[in-house]
Symmetry: none
Subunit: 234 residues, 2 copies
DNA sequence: GCAAATTAATGATTTATTCAAG
DNA sequence: CTTGAATAAATCATTAATTTGC
């Protein structure tokens, strides 16, 4: 069942994906893709863009030009109780996801989706469109935001928990404290990306080693970054 | 010890260590235990198991006791009608986490902890010990299982969702959507990091080396994550 | 109501894979 | 290619829920 090529396969996969990204965006200046999501362009012809087609490793960029009204076809200004307000007309304000849509999006998120590629966004958009107005960028932004906010929540939870542990029974070895603060970056995976040596053998023995190790490792490291962790990326 | 197949090799090695467990000296600490926890191989007679009678448990004899005793602290052999049977004696109980403990563990998990290193496990164990009997291995296993099972749940959810999407409105023109189902997003983005090295058990000898190797600095060097396009540190 | 019987959860083990040194 | 190290997946086994017959 196992194929010999597993390595090859993954290698190719990576290589392919890796190489493909640069190829597109910068060099091909042409009108083509500005944005990963094919569908997007259609929606917003004027947007600046960034990103490449699919290779997301790098995080993507905001598809659209913020700072101006995007969806509304036009605005009406009127005054209400001394306040001037803009009332969108012709169609839209910002996307207001329906319960159904959110349900599906969350399910996808739980299922592991984080940065869907254009094809995925297209599909999702298509599907969610049945439950209400929606555009690809909405899906894109939703994932961006949701991911970021989940990360925040988790960070908070982690800090709380850890601080509780610390204060309640652990020595004040600041080790991870600092870590928790700056390198938090980890989305949710906290394990360090390098190999960590573990020693805990049977409850006795080298506490020393462990202690020493703790100094550096205890951190809750981050994850979330492109393959090839070990400094090779650089 | 050249074997043709790596799997076989490891298998044999493992089998060997498992079956021929030296009942006497745990101190030998073979470096390559199948399991980290030097002390507990299946029925390790000398395991430092804690025999705590305080855990309320049913004393009802399991339906088929013979042959599957694993956790028993020790066995009593006796002969019954020509058959030698082993009767588990002592606390056979498997760890039964208290609500408190689970709460903390889950908080940690939500906080992003997935594969705590020895130092972390030690701390966690220490802390949770205040809420009930617990050993390092329990913590280790808990994370292993929880992680795996969460992954399962997520995968199921994802498949369901995706299949729903597929069947409901999308043609099979999945460009690269198939990826959605691969590891790409599985755990939570956690998969990106490679292996971490662990050194269990023995804890003798090069603890220092391990620590050093572990390289705090390296950890530090890792980027927190895609805040910036990697590679271009500038 | 209550236990035996059955089932769902989940702790603990075992087996397979993966990655990368040698 | 072989192999050590580490993990993830699969499986086993036990405990707690729940059901069921009395």
């Amino acid at each position: 069942m196992k194929v010999h090529h597993s390595h090859v396969a993954s290698y190719l996969e990576k290589a392919a994906s890796a190489s493909s990204s640069p190829a597109t965006a910068p060099s091909t200046s042409p009108p083509s893709e500005l944005f990963p999501f094919g569908a997007f362009q259609c929606l917003r012809p004027l947007a600046p863009k960034i990103s490449l087609p699919d290779q997301p490793k790098k995080l993507v960029a905001p598809p659209d030009v913020l700072g101006r009204v995007r969806n509304a076809t036009k605005l009406l200004c009127c005054t209400v109780r001394n306040h001037t307000v803009q009332v969108p007309v012709g169609g839209t304000t910002r996307w207001n996801p329906s319960a159904e849509q959110i349900k599906v999006l969350e399910a996808l998120y739980r299922g592991g989706m984080r940065t869907p590629n254009s094809a995925q966004i297209e599909r999702i958009t298509e599907e969610l469109g049945r439950h209400g107005r929606i555009e690809g960028k909405n899906v894109f932004y939703w994932f961006q935001n949701h991911k970021a906010r989940e990360r925040q929540k988790q960070k908070r939870a982690a800090l709380l928990t850890l601080s509780t542990l610390d204060s309640s029974s652990l020595p004040a070895t600041a080790t991870k404290d600092g870590a928790g603060d700056k390198k938090e970056a980890c989305d949710d995976a906290v394990t360090s990306c390098k190999r960590q040596c573990r020693t805990w053998g049977d409850g006795h023995g080298d506490a020393a080693a462990e202690v020493a190790a703790e100094g550096c490792t205890e951190n809750v490291t981050l994850e979330l970054f492109p393959l090839r962790p070990q400094g090779k990326a650089a």
